[in-house]
Structure formats: structure tokens, C-alpha cells
Amino acid sequence: MSGGKIFRKIFLVDLFQGLAVTFRNQNPKYIVTEQYPAERPKVAERYRGAPRLNNNPDNGETLCIACNLCALACPENLIVVGSERNEQTRRKELTTFTYDLSRCMFCGLCEDACPVDALELTQDFELASYSRPGMIWDRQMLEEGPRPKQYKC
């Protein structure tokens, strides 16, 4: 055994070389693991997640004009828009809006069809529910959005 090899063996050079690789990769810029429930991952701006029915920020009234275009555009027929004619303003007004998330495939055709930007797929992605009826969202749920439990560590 040559002198160099003995030196490497005694002073564990190979071990330290290996550890150097390990520690080099501990640099924060190489960390890709997301601490998910504690830290919510950032999804893209255009992410197609939970649907939301937007309200007018000025007066809190719904933007939806009950035109039914989203229900017609939906491939899965999961949107039901209920409306009634207001005799005073002679306009159709939204009464109910149900959205069956359990059948939704988040294709985005409903938000494309919406002429007033009332229906929108948002960045919320935590949509689990304990029951099947819990996946059918009504108008209130759609306006408020999901409220998943926040975990802190």
C-alpha cells in the first residue's frame, strides 16, 4: 500500500469528501421540500382551483347576471343557476347557484364563458370534504371560498 493510500485511510479523506458533497447540498437554495401544512405553497396566478363567485367590491352585490352561460359551457353539467325576474328593475337576478365540485375537472371553460368575470377559478386547492354533499357548493360557499384549517408548527 502506498503512502498516499495509507494517509487517505487514516485521516478518512473519502469520508470527508463525501460529507462535503452532502453539506454543499444543504445550502438553502437547493432545498425544494415544502413544509406543506405549515407553509402553503405558492401556486401560479392562473391556477385553476376552487371556484369563486365574485361580488362587487364597492357594494357587495354579486356580479353574476344569471345568464346561465357557465352552465351551458360546462362539459359535466355541474352548474345550476337559479334566477328570478325582478319586476321593479326588470332584470334577471341570481337566486341560487350550485356547483358540484365532485364532478369538476377544473378545465376552466366556465370562467372563460363568464361575460362579467363573476365566476372564477381561484388559487385555493384544499377542497377535501368528509361527505359527498359537502362537495356540492352553494352560493354562499362559492362567495366565501373554502376555509381550510390552518396548521401552525
Binding site: I65, L69, L72, D112, P115, V116, D117
Partner: protein, 210 residues
Amino acid sequence: MADEQKPGGSEAPLPAGGEAAGQPAKPSPPKPAAAPPKPPATMAATPWESDLARELKERFGGQIGETSTYLGQNFIVAKPEAAVPILEYLKLEADFDYLVDITAVDWPKRPERFDLVYIVYSFPRNERVRIKTQIPDGYKPETAVGVHLTANWLEREVFDMFGIEFAGHPDMRRILMPEEWQGYPLRKDYSIIQQDQRWVRENLGIESGQ
């Protein structure tokens, strides 16, 4: 070819007019649809003039009904019994050595209920040809497995979905549906939520899959 117009044309009363480009930002009342020109009831195909079409007509004579082209895509309408000889001729004499697809289209109101469509491609000529035949329900067309081995699974799928049995096929079984399944899903009289209730009960132990 479309000898009946589906009533579905007016099923979805979407407001027409305007292009789909961009997002219409303001709430506009649904405009009355600008009446679109009524599409012709048949495919506006034009005759296909080429050496190959002439050769085929010479060789097969009355067995070839028409050689046409639509949207730059050539097709032959032939008698059912001529389909496999044409495939063979195209393969051996005209280098159409690649059978792309076999499929069928169901036209329930026509006496010859099914369109059986063969699509072939030629590597040397870089050309595609469709061969269409019209067959009645229950007719057993000859298999093309002897000409192209690809036909094996493709014909099995046509059998599975449409119930067209191919005579002389080495292995005429269902391929995608379970083997004991009753009914042929892609026929027009098979509704989208229809299923073989007996099969579902016996094999899945539930009353209905819906």
C-alpha cells in the same frame, strides 16, 4: 353522407355571434344570432384526380364507387367485399405499407348501417388514403389481418364497440370491454349512461354503476 340531420343542432341555445377571442369584459345582452349560412347536408367532396385513383378504378372497376377528396384528404368509397383486395393492392403495388387505423361510424337510419373506414399511409409516397365501405348490420366483412398485422387489435376494437364481426379473424374477442359484456357501446342507440346491468350486478356486486 349525413343523410339525417341531428336535432341536436338547436339543443344548446348559446348566443352566437362574436368571436371567442379575448374575454368579453362588459355584460352585453345576448345578441341575436347572425343567421349562419346553412351547411350543405352532404359532404362537399370533389373528385380525386390522380394516377393512383385511375389505376384503382381500372383494376377494380365497378367495385369502387367514388374516388374523392375533401379538405385535401383523399378517400375511396368501395364495395365491402373489395376493401381487403384494395388494401392488398395498395400495399403490394402502390407502397401503402402502413395501416394507420380501422374504425367505423354508425348511421342508424341508413340501410347500410355502418361506415367501415380503413386509413392507410405510404412511407415512400408520403400520402394517406381512406377506404370507406358501407355495410349493413350483421354483415361480416373479411378481416385484413392477412394483409396488415396491425388490423388484429384494431378490428377487435371495432367488434367490441360496434359489433361488426370480421370473418376469418384469428382472435375475435372483445378487447376493451369485459368479455361477457352485452351490447356495443359506440352504436348510436346505446345511450351514454346505458350499461350491462346484469354484468355490473354479478361482477361488481352493486345495483348500478351510476
